[in-house]
């Protein structure tokens, strides 16, 4: 039985065969295929030192970065539309909840890593501006009887609506940044934004620069998550906060099954119909399954040096917001 099967695989797979060789961790393959006849050494359960996962595929670490880049290059233009379609608009609520948790004050220096299309950054700016407007309204109510001097002074002082707040949007992918920049100009965000091309594992910033570091739906695509966490620790000021919004493990078994069904059956189809790209969205749902659970990720954040690390699961654990402080 084994010989004909391997012949079939060999003749049909070609390229797929080399993928099989690298992904033979699962026990099922170990017993059924004769290693000797094909001259291949199976890897059993241990992974190679420089191997990592790309969705459910196993690739070398050098390859993963390039492949992730290609995925985001091809999805960039339809990224926002697809997010809305896949999450039925719920991703907006998740991102809003991240901002509510963050509760930034005017004057905050925010670093938004993997923030390509700018969702978090724009929400941050809107939040600060809304705060500023509320403050102005309160001031107006309190100051109903001003002297003429004070009124004249008010016309002269041009108060910065952002109060010195600034957001640095860093992304490794040029296409995503381009889409984000276009969105910014469409929505009218001019001040308080800077766009930087950079790698989360090696940020192009000095130490102790930012008050808040956020990474929304980006950290699972990073090849070395621990390095990204260490970089986050480095660039934050003492007292700074690390916030991560990411897909996580669903805690409810029924919802987990429905979620799996939806993820594997519907999402790649949506990707094909709307964006013309099945494989990128297959990678997306697989990479979500590969990401560590809430507790494991919390431990990774603690290992990087953060303290008071907490997490909050949203929508039964489909996403989780992890928060840590550099003290």
């Amino acid at each position: 039985m084994a010989a004909p099967r391997s012949y079939v695989l060999w003749s049909y797979c070609g390229r797929g065969w080399s993928r099989l060789v690298r992904t033979c961790g699962p026990r099922g393959l170990h017993s059924s295929l004769p290693a000797g006849s094909l001259g291949v050494r199976f890897l059993s359960q241990e992974k190679h030192a420089t191997q990592t996962h790309f969705g459910f595929e196993t690739v070398s670490e050098e390859e993963k970065g390039g492949k992730v880049y290609q995925v985001f290059e091809s999805v960039a233009k339809k990224y926002d539309v697809m997010n809305d379609m896949m999450s039925l608009g719920i991703h907006r609520v998740w991102k809003d909840m991240l901002l509510w948790k963050m509760n930034p004050l005017p004057g905050t220096q925010l670093l938004d890593v993997a923030g390509g299309t700018g969702d978090i950054a724009f929400r941050f700016l809107n939040y600060i501006q809304a705060q500023h407007q509320r403050k102005q309204k309160r001031q107006l109510r309190a100051q109903q009887n001003l002297s003429w001097d004070e009124i004249a002074k008010k016309y002269q002082d041009e108060e910065d609506p952002l109060g010195g707040s600034h957001v640095m949007i860093c992304d490794i992918n040029r296409e995503m940044l381009k889409v984000g920049q276009k969105k910014a100009s469409d929505q009218g965000h001019k001040a308080g934004l800077t766009w930087v091309l950079g790698d989360a594992e090696e940020l192009p910033f000095d130490d102790h620069k930012f008050d808040i570091y956020t990474i929304a739906f980006g950290i699972r695509n990073v090849t070395h998550i621990d390095q990204a966490l260490q970089e986050a620790h480095r660039v934050l000021k003492p007292g700074g906060r690390f916030l991560c919004l990411e897909f996580s493990r669903v805690n409810n078994p029924l919802i987990s099954r429905l979620y799996d069904l939806y993820s594997f059956q519907v999402i790649p189809v949506l990707g094909e119909v709307i964006a013309g790209d099945w494989k990128s969205y297959q990678y997306l749902v697989e990479s979500i399954r590969k990401f560590p659970s809430q507790e494991e990720f919390k431990e990774m954040i603690e290992d990087a040096g953060f303290q008071k690390v907490t997490y909050e699961s949203l929508t039964s654990g489909i996403v989780a917001i992890h928060s840590g402080f550099k003290l």
Binding site: V8, Y12, T23, E57, Q265, V269, V273, G276
Partner: protein, 265 residues
């Protein structure tokens, strides 16, 4: 065959993920990836095929420039029709040759200079003229991905690549009217659900005048010729470049192009 039973077993697992845990989902995906039947193959469960068919049909109607959606619709709905087509090809000697040799039509396999040097009125020269006048290229076809049989994947790929030949044979340009006429011809010839759907729903966006022309002259002509002609997939077009187009049309029983469309292709 072995791979078919493996595939069927995997489809069952994949279609009922309610009984599958996460590690098994990974295993299933791994096995599906391993059981690729051809390089671009993406194995899909029946549910995914149904969703794809519905989604691609809707998207193709919404945005007619999404040719890849038309292709996906064809692949997901045409499995049984492709079997009938493949059997038809097997019964014909030229068709069997095509199935065995699997010729592909692309810029890499076509000898453009040789085609250009052919005499006027020959099939190859007219085909090249069609490509130039309508500014199309044989390389814009998406590869087959969702057909779960390697030979049928080739049959549908051949059907797509032969589409341009049909334009030349029928003398139809690549505007919307011409495409609908060719779709009607193909629907009658192949019976592919995608062709039938395209033929029925394509005219939805036409103006009343064009619709009148279509219904009164072009569709009857296309249907009549579609019935008369033998299976167009059985022609080894690559060996017929030198054959005069008129002779080829006579062989297939294709009558003169209707006057409203003459000289456009």
């Amino acid at each position: 065959p072995l791979w078919r039973s493996v595939l069927r077993e995997l489809w069952d697992i994949n279609f009922a993920p309610l009984t599958v845990r996460q590690t098994s989902a990974a295993m299933t995906t791994l096995w599906l990836r391993v059981s690729l039947l051809y390089p671009d193959h993406i194995p899909t469960s029946p549910l995914q095929k149904a969703l794809l068919a519905a989604g691609s049909a809707g998207m193709a109607l919404y945005d007619p420039y999404r040719h890849d959606m038309v292709a996906v619709l064809g692949e997901t709905t045409g499995f049984y029709t492709l079997k009938v087509l493949r059997d038809q090809m097997r019964r014909d000697p030229e068709g069997t040759q095509i199935l065995q040799e699997r010729p592909r039509i692309s810029l890499a396999t076509l000898d453009m200079d040789k085609l250009r040097s052919l005499p006027e009125g020959s099939f190859g020269r007219e085909y090249l003229r069609f490509l130039d006048v309508n500014r199309v290229s044989p390389d814009t076809r998406v590869p087959t991905r969702f057909v779960d049989d390697e030979e049928l994947a080739y049959v549908i790929q051949r059907y797509r690549e032969v589409h341009d030949m049909l334009h030349t044979l029928l003398g139809m340009p690549t505007n919307i009217l011409g495409e609908i006429v060719v779709k009607w011809f193909e629907a009658v010839q192949t019976g592919l659900p995608m062709c039938v759907l395209g033929a029925l729903f394509g005219p939805v966006r036409l103006s009343a005048r064009k619709l009148h022309v279509l219904v009164s002259e072009l569709i009857p002509w296309a249907v009549h010729n579609g019935h008369r002609a033998p299976c167009v997939l059985n022609l080894y077009y690559e060996r017929r470049w030198e054959q005069p187009l008129a002779a080829l049309r006579k062989e297939l029983g294709i009558t003169a192009v209707p006057p409203c469309m003459q000289g456009l292709a």
